[in-house]
């Protein structure tokens, strides 16, 4: 299999096509523009649909429509655009429809900056839209993982009939890395619920998020949360690096995990017993994995490109029994491995004092 050198954004788009997605609806925004540009070029070649909508809200609503008709559909945007999509996202969740939404995060709030950030973590994992709902959220940290997660997210969102997100950032979207596309035969899942025309042969399917009867609305939510509970039990993923004997476990995801990895290696070279736990899914959050990795640790350190959002989930995961420190950069500033190493030295010094 051939190793290709590709930008993260382009790799996402190609992976989606290879995963059988033929319906892309988008609206331009930096730093995810290469997803749209690539799709506009490739979709016509595979007899797919690329449509630049008149707005982000229109694009996500088109995803809802395509998904209701049984298609593998997706959209992509960056932070301010994702905020606009939250309305449609909630409707997709309320309609029990699968869909892939890509967020190549940039610094905020507001229009903010176009540089990388991870400050949409709370939005993605806690409140991706109004109402009681969850979003399946993968947080890849390499271009290869972005590709692998596209396949996985499509499959899982169809299995559980819910929207899923690839939570990336400008760094991952813009960088090039070698990537190998898996050679898989994609078999679309059965969708007996899809609006494909009943042809007088079956009862009409109805897809809606409107549920005026509170009892019915409640039972729909309860059924959804049963699925969410199963996902929390079975789908939380994380990578563990040198945590077995670590005094300090760094918890970082996405681009920050790359920086943390460099810092952890440098710390080990200086005799500091550091390790890393990297969430691959951030909802479901790998609570059990963090609890296990933190068991022998004396302290944890969450590193994020935000003012501290995931750190609260880490504190909850270790049941507030271990000190969980935080280091973050915000507004589009990417932390350096040296800055994280400095934090590790300070924490290690405190442990030995």
């Amino acid at each position: 299999m051939q190793r290709l050198l590709m930008k993260g954004n382009e790799a996402i788009a190609e992976a989606a096509i290879k995963a059988g997605c033929r319906h892309f609806f988008g609206y331009p925004i930096t730093p995810q523009n290469e997803v749209c540009a690539y799709m506009s070029r490739r979709m016509p070649q595979v007899e797919g649909v690329f449509l630049q909508a008149e707005s982000e809200i229109a694009a996500i609503s088109m995803v809802l429509g395509a998904s209701a008709a049984g298609a593998r559909a997706m959209t992509s945007s960056s932070s301010p655009g994702i905020s606009l999509k939250t309305e449609g996202l909630s409707y997709i969740a309320g309609s029990d429809l699968p869909a892939l939404i890509v967020n190549v995060q940039r610094g905020g709030p507001g229009l903010g900056t176009i540089q990388p950030a991870q400050s949409d973590y709370n939005q993605a994992t806690k409140a991706p839209g109004h109402g009681d709902l969850r979003l399946l959220v993968f947080a890849p940290s390499t271009v290869q993982e972005m590709v692998d997660c596209v396949f996985e997210t499509f499959d899982l969102t169809e299995k559980y009939r819910m929207p899923g997100m690839l939570l990336c950032d400008g760094l991952l979207g813009q960088m090039m890395e070698p990537v190998i596309f898996p050679e898989v035969e994609v078999t679309p899942s059965e969708k007996p619920w899809a609006l494909t025309g009943h042809g007088d042969k079956r009862q009409p399917n109805i897809i809606t998020s409107l549920n005026l009867d509170p009892e019915l609305s409640q039972s729909a939510n309860l059924a959804r949360f049963e699925r969410y509970a199963e996902i929390e039990k079975t789908q939380a993923r994380a990578e563990s690096l040198m945590t077995e004997d670590a005094d300090i476990v760094v918890v970082a995801y996405g681009a920050c995990a790359r920086i943390a990895r460099s810092a952890v290696s440098a710390a080990r070279a200086e005799g500091i017993k550091a390790g890393m736990l990297r969430p691959i899914t951030v909802w479901p959050f790998p609570t059990q994995q963090i609890l296990a990795a933190g068991k022998s640790a004396k302290a944890l350190l969450a590193v994020e490109m935000s003012m501290g959002q995931m750190v609260h989930d880490v504190r909850t995961a270790v049941q507030f029994k271990k000190p969980v420190h935080f280091f973050g950069r915000t507004g589009g500033v990417v932390p350096t491995p040296n800055e994280v190493l400095e934090q590790l030295k300070i924490i290690d010094g405190g442990l030995k004092a």
Partner: protein, 176 residues
């Protein structure tokens, strides 16, 4: 060679991202781990642009290079910005037909090359970057000419096949 990192910097339009891309392809063809990270922003012709490239035997952490083994500076702002970040013993290549630097360091290997002037003289206007890259790859000793030629072939967009020959000529000019 186990690890190599570089920053290519200059004005937008000087082809600094392309230099990085060719270097990244050299790493790819050598079967190494590779990353290429552009500065991205409201940059356009005349603005500043740079990119970071890492080549390694092990997985690459941060793709943003802060202490490069090599710096290629195509203009004075880039030279001044990154000069002090180069690792001691590292490599510096700059275009002295574009600017005359005031600052310097004696703990790095520095080479001045009048690449932009040379490119104009040789009818290779606009691809001084490849003259610079030729010298950089030669001094860094990353790979043989055959691999570099393949990397150029992969980097040139298929819509501009004619550029391969020009780029190769400029590359060899920089190497010799």
């Amino acid at each position: 060679m186990t690890n190599f990192s570089a920053i290519f910097a200059g004005f937008g339009g000087q082809g600094v991202l392309f230099m990085g891309k060719v270097t990244a392809y050299v790493g790819l063809l050598l079967g190494k781990e590779v990353s290429w990270m552009p500065s991205y922003g409201p940059e356009m012709r005349g603005g500043t642009a740079n990119c970071s490239v890492c080549i390694s035997d092990t997985p690459i952490g941060s793709p943003v290079v802060t202490e490069p083994d090599a710096l290629v500076a195509m203009n004075l702002p880039s030279y001044d910005k990154f000069l002090h970040s180069v690792k001691p013993g590292g490599l510096l290549i700059y275009d002295d037909s574009m600017f005359k630097p005031a600052a310097s360091r004696d703990d790095i290997r520095a080479f001045a090359l009048p690449a932009t002037a040379l490119a104009s003289e040789e009818g290779l206007g606009g691809i001084a970057n490849m003259i610079m890259l030729g010298r950089t790859l030669k001094e860094a000793g990353l790979a043989g000419l055959e691999i570099i030629e393949q990397a150029i072939e992969k980097s040139v967009p298929s819509s501009k096949p004619g550029m391969i020959e020009h780029n190769l000529r400029a590359l060899k000019l920089g190497m010799n």
